[in-house]
Amino acid sequence: MGAQKKGGARVSDDSEEQSRQRLQAILLADSFTTKFRPVTLERPKVLLPLANVPMIDYTLAWLESAGIEEVFVFCCAHSTQVIDYLETSEWHTHPNLAVRTIESHKSISAGDALRYIYEQQTETSQIQGDFVLVSGDTVSNMPLADLIREHRERKKRDEKAIMTMVIKKSKPSLITHQSRLGTDQLFIAVDPLTKQLLHYEEDKIDHARGSVCLDKSLMERNPSVLLYNDMQDCNIDICSPEVLSLFEDNFDYQHLRRHFVKGVLVDDIMGYKIFTHEIGSGYAARVDNFRSYDTVSKDIIQRWTYPYVPDINFGGNRPLKLGRQGIYRACDAVLSRSADVGASTVVGYGTKIGNGDRILNSVIGSGCSIGSNVVIEGSYIWNNVTVEDGCVIRNAIVCDGVRIRAGAALEPGVVLSFKVVVGRGFVVPAYSKVSLLPQPMKEDSDEELEYAESGSGTADRYIWEVCEGAHDEEWKHSVAPIPEDKLAEITQAMDDDDMEDESVVPTSGELKSDADSINTDVNDPGDDYGYFEKEVEGTFLRAVEEGIKVELGVLEINSLRLSYNMESADCAGAIFYSMMKLAVDTPHSSASELYKTASSIIAKWKGLLGFYVKQTDEQIEVIMKFEEMCQETAKELGPLFARFCMFCMIRMWCKKMR
């Protein structure tokens, strides 16, 4: 009883200690992708406006209200712009949230960024405990306190639980297998009891076959596995300090999900574990491409992100007035009496809207002037844009300072970068991206900064060429909804698939053991064994040629065994196979000579074989293997079989047993 009490007291001490620990977050103010090009050539992604407020404000406001006390903003591309913005914004003097910036120009991936932070960390040791890792384009209103507590408690119980990943239920589109956010369908496997993440598959799901390959050992190690395909990864992680050192140790990790999560799950580094947390009512999403820009903007307008909505001043933004049907309007915006401003629209400060305009589902920034008889639908018009009379803009993104002359039209999916001028009556074709800056070549894709300085002021404009391969994908990630014909195409393709095999990936549920996927699993080891045998043979021959010691041979074979995930019986079989192969391949004139060679090889390498042949199973495997070989090369080995069995029995097993 006394001991128990003592334990209880200690736990409470611990939790007190932890609650005193500052809550910290690392915010990556760079996505390390090129999906928002050409816009991100001139302005960092985190400063792009989302319903007229820079994205980073949403992230910071959320972190602040979730109780985070210190944020490290990691700036890379356009770092000066980000730092300038933060210093002039009210975050700089915020009483509850200390915003510190870390600047690095060398990092080209999230992995580099974390390694850089780790190096800094060793000098200054700013990050003391668990931290929240988000990118600067996250929009969320979920509470973090419980999640962090959960993570800490789990960490206390299990040292190896280094990360908690936030997931949210969100159905992917049945037709395109794309989530609302334009990312590929996510497939994860979770232990239903502990919520441990067991499998994470983002991009390799074979839609045509409607199946997913799982590692067989996954089923062996866990009594039950829950599979989801209707989850969305929120890209919000609670990490322990070990995560940073893991990045340091594995210098080839670049991508958080593709490398780090995969690495921890598959390679089983030091037995580290990742857990998941499903959020219920909160909202969390990441603006990853133009499609998710559109989706998240609409979610904000529909108030899923409350209290981070345009009519509330949550982070230095001037609040707009909310009218019926989700129309947010600045108090000094001038709307013509004959203008038809429809549902789900945001109109910023100082914007003038002319006669007879039709505006629907769009966001218009501040200081814009829209001429008369303009149609704007589903578009995002940023600040200080001039649109002259009679233009038609559908599902486009128009950046700051753009001028669209009278009668011009933007077809769906167009992106006009900063200060572009569209000529009178010009029709910008669908999905084109227009910028004043030339499209960078593939090789120098990481040198964004240089372009930011040069090129402005020139009158010519560049229409970015869309790479051949990417053109098909363009409709997937653009702001425009997927056109009818594409949808029809996909549906057609889907129907064809359905004819071939009926199995479609089911929505979440317990995996049944009689599912098709098991069959594919069984096939895989067969293939693997062939390769494994070849590898073992190669190793053995090399060992014979170079006269490597038995112990070293054992080491090599062991490493092969691990990498192919084989049993020791398989090893024994393979080694015996290679021995006999060697004996047969050695030039010989008669059966007795062959027998002699074989027995000398076995005598010489009996240590190697003996290492694996310890149990009856393995002995049987060896004999089976020999029988198999005899059948293959009946002429030569057939007569030897009986004698050899005897030889094996007496010579090896007995010795081994002793």
């Binding site: 239920k169 049945l174 529909q302 899923w304 209290p307 789900s344 425009a480």
Partner: protein
């Protein structure tokens, strides 16, 4: 001063993030914040003390109101404090005119009255003098009649302080100190009033709730809870119907507390209000705000309950502390009557995410979710007589402060 600034900022932040909920809590925090603003306020001696104070309070008040325009209690309390400053200034002026030198030895060194010692001063309170002065200048107001300030209390005060007089120049600084002191006294009384509003309202419970009655309420209100419990404590036995107040289901919380206090409670859905109203003797609800025209802003669903009560001629009682009395009219474009909260309170995002897929189809959202927080009950459905409201508002607020 800097620490006041930081507390203001902190409070503004909380208001913005909607971290403080409920009119009473907000009103209390606001008035305490304003007290520290006033007590830390330093003005140059030559300036007009009262107007400087008013400007300081107005500046802070404007920030607070802008932080959460929906929470009308913030604006109300700021206006009340402004009114107190004006009244105290007026009383000092009239006292000076009347030849009453208010500078006696009592304006001692307690500038730092902000830690609330207000009640120790009742007989000498300038508010009393103000009331007396006002009564000479204006016709007696309803407030003074209701609050029944003892006229005799002023008598010893005037007699005691009328004795010594000093030179005008030396007075100046002490007048400013006196004013600040008195204002803080007044604000302390306001704090006291806001803190005690539940008890004061609950005192009247016994006169409204009778034996074996059935009371209907909607949503959760602390005032209503105290009111019902006060009647229970007086050995009244009655039953309470609680409409659950979807989508936030605060009625569930109220039901829990009522049961904990030993009241017979029945929880019904909001949509069952009309069906149950015929068995109900009285509807009692708490309000978010009472507007100048007598209209009431309450939790969503209140209008329906009021209509049902009207239809069945059931008395409809609204309980509200004085800090909820808003001097503005609901048709004023400055007044934000409602706030739309997140649709996630109504719908599960995961289930409906396929309806919000903008990638397919026309790209325009077909599903709209509206989740209002409040309901407006027009004065025609009960509520107060507008002329009575006008009187109350004239007592609590000065006309100069209505627009901030």
């Amino acid at each position: 001063m800097p620490d006041v600034q930081s507390t203001v900022l902190e409070f503004v932040n909380k208001l913005r993030k909607r971290k403080i909920e409920g009119s009473q809590a907000t009103a209390r925090c606001t008035v305490e914040l304003l007290r520290s603003v006033i007590s830390h306020h330093r003005v140059p001696h030559h300036a007009n003390q009262a107007s400087a104070l008013i400007d300081a309070v107005k500046a802070v008040g404007a920030q607070l109101v802008a932080a959460n325009p929906v929470e009308l209690a913030v604006g109300n309390v700021v206006r009340r404090v402004l009114h107190i400053i004006r009244e105290e200034d007026l009383s000092l002026a009239t006292a000076a005119v009347a030849g009453l030198d208010l500078l006696d030895a009592s304006d001692d060194d307690d500038e730092d009255v902000n830690n609330g010692k207000g009640i120790g001063y009742p007989a000498m309170s300038a508010a009393v003098v103000a009331a007396a002065a006002r009564s000479t200048l204006r016709p007696p107001s309803l407030q003074t009649l209701l609050e029944g300030t003892p006229e005799s209390a002023t008598v010893p005060y005037t007699s005691s302080s009328g004795a010594d007089s000093e030179s005008k120049t030396a007075d100046k600084s002490s007048i400013t100190r006196k004013l600040k002191h008195d204002v803080i006294e007044g604000v302390n009384q306001l704090i006291h009033e806001i803190a005690g509003c539940h008890e004061q309202i609950a005192e009247q419970a016994i006169e409204h709730i009778h034996q074996n009655e059935v009371i209907l309420t909607l949503g959760s209100s602390r005032t209503v809870l105290e009111f019902l419990c006060a009647a229970k404590e007086k050995k009244r036995s009655f039953r309470v119907f609680v409409a659950e107040g979807a989508p936030r289901y605060q009625g569930h919380l109220l039901a829990k507390e009522l049961v904990a206090r030993g009241l017979q409670t029945t929880v019904i859905t909001d949509s069952a209000v009309f069906a149950m109203i015929s068995r109900v003797n009285m509807v009692i609800i708490g309000a978010h705000a009472v507007m100048a025209n007598g209209g009431v802003i309450g939790p969503v669903g209140v209008n329906m309950a009021a209509l049902a009560a009207k239809k069945h001629a059931v008395p409809f009682v609204v309980l509200a502390g004085s800090h909820k009395l808003c001097p503005l009219y609901p048709h004023n474009p400055e007044v934000l009557l409602n706030e739309l909260r997140s649709p996630s309170e109504l719908l599960d995002f995961g289930e409906f995410s396929d309806c919000l897929d903008f990638g397919a189809g026309s790209g325009s959202p077909l599903l709209q979710v509206v989740n209002p927080t409040f309901d407006y009950v027009p004065p025609s459905l009960g509520g107060h007589n507008p002329s009575y409201m006008y009187r109350l508002i004239a007592d609590y607020y000065s006309a100069d402060d209505l627009v901030m």
